[in-house]
């Protein structure tokens, strides 16, 4: 903490202590927040960089953080579309110069990436710091946040590979954001009293001569939402249409599948496919014949850990009962049967 910050905090403390005397208008309700409390929660960063803490991070350091904490969802180069939409891609050197993304103007962008949309670099810093990594929000230090952001900006060729991003130079980076001039607030959809931009009139008779069916639901889309008959009431003026694949005879799902859902395991693990953590069947495969696997996995569920399957950490799950842990581990090691 800088000398200046200490002084500012002391001043704030004195101010708030004084203000407490003139506390709220509802007697006995609420209290003044301490400076430490405000500091703990007041994490927002605005486009004018108010709220941005001091610190710095290099592209190289950012790559390390990225590979251990971000790449599993966003891909090594920020281009993955597997879990979330891509962060990087679709911008050019010309866009950086002009501050407008040409792909939008031409209309040939196959997908909108984060760097194609975001106009303010503060937004990225703020969100990474408050909400990332996905499975452990708010765990990145300020320096690591600068570093990760530097890495993303480098992937977008907004900063060079030897760049060190900091609170001192971030305003310079803002001048290179590819879509910085592509955002407008000149419209009537912010203010309740704003002026609408589409105008229809309430014609009542002979309003058109011809009806053109421009778009109908393709068969695959009709069937993609399962059996609509089961999504409607069984009494009344209508019934749902029978759609989707014919229902297979219902085999009873394995009780462990319920446990897995109940304890939130399915957020990170698939039965047969990797999500953030390994697929359960891959776990069973690895520990085949290992007599200590049962106790080891139980401890891993309870205490968390990292390293065994890459660097994405497994958070501790202290809330899961021993019986449930036991049932889950046995089920996983038996190959995760679905029935």
């Amino acid at each position: 903490m800088s000398r200046f910050t200490e002084l500012a905090l002391a001043a704030a403390l004195a101010l708030s202590a004084g203000a407490t005397l003139a506390a709220g208008k509802y007697e006995g309700i609420g209290r003044s927040a301490t400076p430490a409390e405000v500091k703990a929660w007041d994490i927002d960063v605005r486009p004018d960089f108010t709220g941005l803490p001091p610190g710095s991070g290099s592209v190289d350091r950012g790559m390390e953080v990225w590979e251990s904490k971000c790449a599993s969802c966003h891909g090594t180069f920020g281009e993955s579309n597997e879990v979330f939409t891509p962060i990087v891609g679709g911008t050019t050197k010309e866009d950086i110069e002009k501050g407008r993304v040409g792909a939008y103007i031409r209309g040939d962008a196959p997908q909108r990436t984060t760097l194609m949309k975001v106009a303010t670099v503060s937004t990225l810093w703020d969100y990474i710091h408050r909400a990332m990594p996905w499975n452990a929000p708010k765990s990145l230090s300020a320096d690591d946040t600068y570093a990760v952001l530097a890495y993303i900006l480098n992937l977008g060729e907004i900063v060079p590979a030897d760049y060190v991003l900091s609170d001192k130079n971030i305003a310079e980076v803002q001048k290179r954001m590819p879509n910085r001039n592509g955002m407008t607030t000149k419209h009537g959809l912010w203010d309740v009293k704003g002026k609408p931009d589409v105008k229809n009139v309430a014609c009542m008779k002979n309003c058109k001569t011809q009806i053109t069916l421009g778009s109908s639901l393709p068969d695959y889309a009709r069937d993609a939402h399962g059996n609509l008959a089961e999504q409607n009431r069984v009494v009344g003026p209508v019934r749902g249409q029978k759609t989707g694949a014919p229902a297979a005879p219902a085999a009873k799902p394995h009780p462990a599948l319920e446990l897995m859902k109940k304890h939130g395991c399915s957020g990170c693990h698939g039965v047969g496919s990797k999500i953030l953590g390994p697929a359960f069947r891959d776990v069973a495969q690895r520990y085949k014949g290992d007599k200590s696997a049962e106790s080891g996995l139980a401890a891993r569920i309870r205490n968390g850990g990292s390293g065994a399957w890459g660097d994405v950490p497994m958070p501790p799950q202290a809330q899961v009962s021993d019986a449930d842990v036991d049932a889950l581990v046995k089920w996983i090691l038996s190959g995760s049967p679905e029935n």
């Binding site: 708030s16 203000a19 407490t20 506390a23 309700i29 609420g30 003044s32 927040a33 409390e37 405000v38 929660w41 007041d42 605005r46 486009p47 108010t50 597997e82 879990v83 939008y104 949309k117 106009a119 303010t120 703020d126 969100y127 408050r130 909400a131 929000p137 592509g182 955002m183 407008t184 607030t185 419209h187 912010w190 203010d191 309740v192 589409v198 105008k199 229809n200 309430a202 009542m204 008779k205 002979n206 058109k208 053109t212 069916l213 421009g214 109908s216 639901l217 993609a224 939402h225 609509l228 089961e230 409607n232 069984v234 003026p237 209508v238 749902g240 249409q241 759609t243 399915s266 957020g267």
Partner: protein, 443 residues
């Protein structure tokens, strides 16, 4: 469970495997007598009873059922009630392929089966950015800081001691109907319009809290609302909005908020898209500039034909949709039908709803059910006799500013075809001779 037909000529969908293809052809050709006889025969087999009984009358009347001849279940057997087992089909559902991670996903309210204007709390649509939590209210805090005389902290006990108000408002996700911007994409009203719900919310006006903290009215222009979940969702709200009808709410439909809807505290921002109704609300900061938070700088921005994005678009403009009958449903009969649906406007009250059954050539004005409340769902109804010919059903709402819900051509002319958010175009449902209703777009 399935009952035999009781009205002569009533067309019901045949049970699976009950009719041969030839017989289905006869039904399609309108041979109703044939159908009745076939049903009578089939029910006789199914019920193990004679044809004679069907001739005497309806077995549902003539044979006393178990529930009239046995002891029922005791009070409080289900201390927090649940719907009838026969209502299991109506529930929140995800749209396959829409999102890839369940904790950052959306579930849709089953509008096709709801009555009136209140959404049951358990069917209220969900949209989470980093998963939901069930937060201990004893440990939850709300902080107000920024351009105020004194930054203050409130417990839930504190907040619930303050003078509260209860108001009915709709909440609609800015992306509701977004999948239909370019073309028809989903089959039913649950998926086209189901990121929409309406509840009675109870809480304290945000203005009371801002006043309690001594808001600096000279410098304050905006507030930031922030959630307590992993994503700590933040949204900017202009000060005149924040001081108007915005609530810091804990109650929903007479009970506490459901965890999926922000228990124990959420912001209610009437008329504004759902993302601004920050759930698990932990902090309000008063400032003099908007924040350009992630969900107002990367998502919830509208891409226009000229390649610019509109930022801070947030009003949910006047919109309506017919819910009965709607896509994916089949009308059981010709004859009288009550066409019913929902209308709403983020700018005020619904003034009028017109309904067309011929694809927008001619319109009739529907009845509005009371109450008609500002920034709340309004239920409309209109009588209609279906003669069995194909039809295209549409509804068109008007609010008390005089704004008329636009059609797709008008909306796309201004906003192009690449947008996602704030699609309030007139919805069309095509009714075929078979009674099947499907989702179409009409130009």
């Amino acid at each position: 469970m399935s009952q035999p037909p009781v009205r002569p000529g009533r067309i019901r969908r045949a049970p699976e495997g009950f009719l041969t293809p030839e017989q289905i052809g006869e039904v399609a050709a309108g041979r109703r007598d044939f159908l009745r006889n076939a049903f009578v025969a089939a029910t006789a087999v199914a019920a193990g009873s004679g044809v004679a009984r069907a001739a005497d009358g309806d077995p549902a009347i003539l044979t006393l059922p178990e529930h009239s001849t046995t002891l029922g279940r005791p009070v409080a057997e289900r201390p927090y009630g649940t719907p009838s087992q026969y209502e299991a089909g109506l529930k929140r559902r995800e749209s396959p392929g829409l999102t890839r991670v369940a904790a950052a996903s959306v579930s849709f309210a089953p509008l096709q089966g709801l009555f009136g204007i209140i959404t049951p709390s358990g069917l209220h649509f969900e949209r989470h950015h980093q998963g939901w939590h069930d937060i201990d209210p004893a440990r939850h805090r709300l902080m107000v800081n920024g351009l105020v005389k004194e930054a203050r902290v409130y417990t839930m006990d504190d907040l619930m001691r303050l003078p509260s108000v209860s108001r009915i408002h709709f909440i609609e996700c800015g992306a509701n109907t977004g999948m239909e911007w370019g073309n028809v994409a989903v089959p039913t009203v649950q998926y086209t319009h189901g990121m929409l719900s309406c509840s009675e919310f109870t809480g304290v006006p945000l203005s009371v809290l801002l006043d309690d903290c001594g808001i600096d009215m000279k410098r304050a222009k905006f507030v930031l609302a922030e959630g307590a979940d992993g994503s700590s969702m933040t949204r900017t709200i202009p000060l005149d909005r924040a001081l108007d009808d915005v609530l810091v709410a804990w109650g929903q439909n007479g009970e506490m908020l459901r965890p999926e809807n922000g228990y124990p505290l959420r912001l209610v921002v009437p008329g504004i898209q759902g993302v601004s109704w920050v759930k698990w609300l932990r902090r309000i900061e008063v400032g003099d500039q908007p924040w350009a938070a992630k969900d107002e700088a990367i998502h919830y921005i509208d891409l226009l034909p000229d390649g610019t994005h509109r930022q801070y678009t947030s009003i949910q403009e006047c919109k309506s949709v017919i819910t009965t009958p709607s896509g994916g449903q089949t009308l059981l009969d010709r004859g009288f039908h009550n066409i019913s649906g929902l209308a709403w406007s983020g700018r005020g009250k619904i003034k009028r709803v017109d309904v067309s059954t011929d694809g927008g050539k001619n319109w009739r004005t529907a009845r509005l059910e009371t109450p008609v409340l500002s920034k709340a769902l309004t239920r409309f109804n209109i009588d209609w006799v279906w003669d069995g010919s194909p039809a295209i059903l549409q509804s068109r709402a008007m609010d008390d500013t005089g704004y008329v819900q636009p059609n797709y051509a008008q909306l796309r002319e201004v906003r192009g075809t690449r947008s996602i958010y704030h699609n309030n175009a007139i919805q069309s449902w095509k009714l075929a001779e078979s009674g099947d209703v499907s989702n179409v777009q009409v130009y």
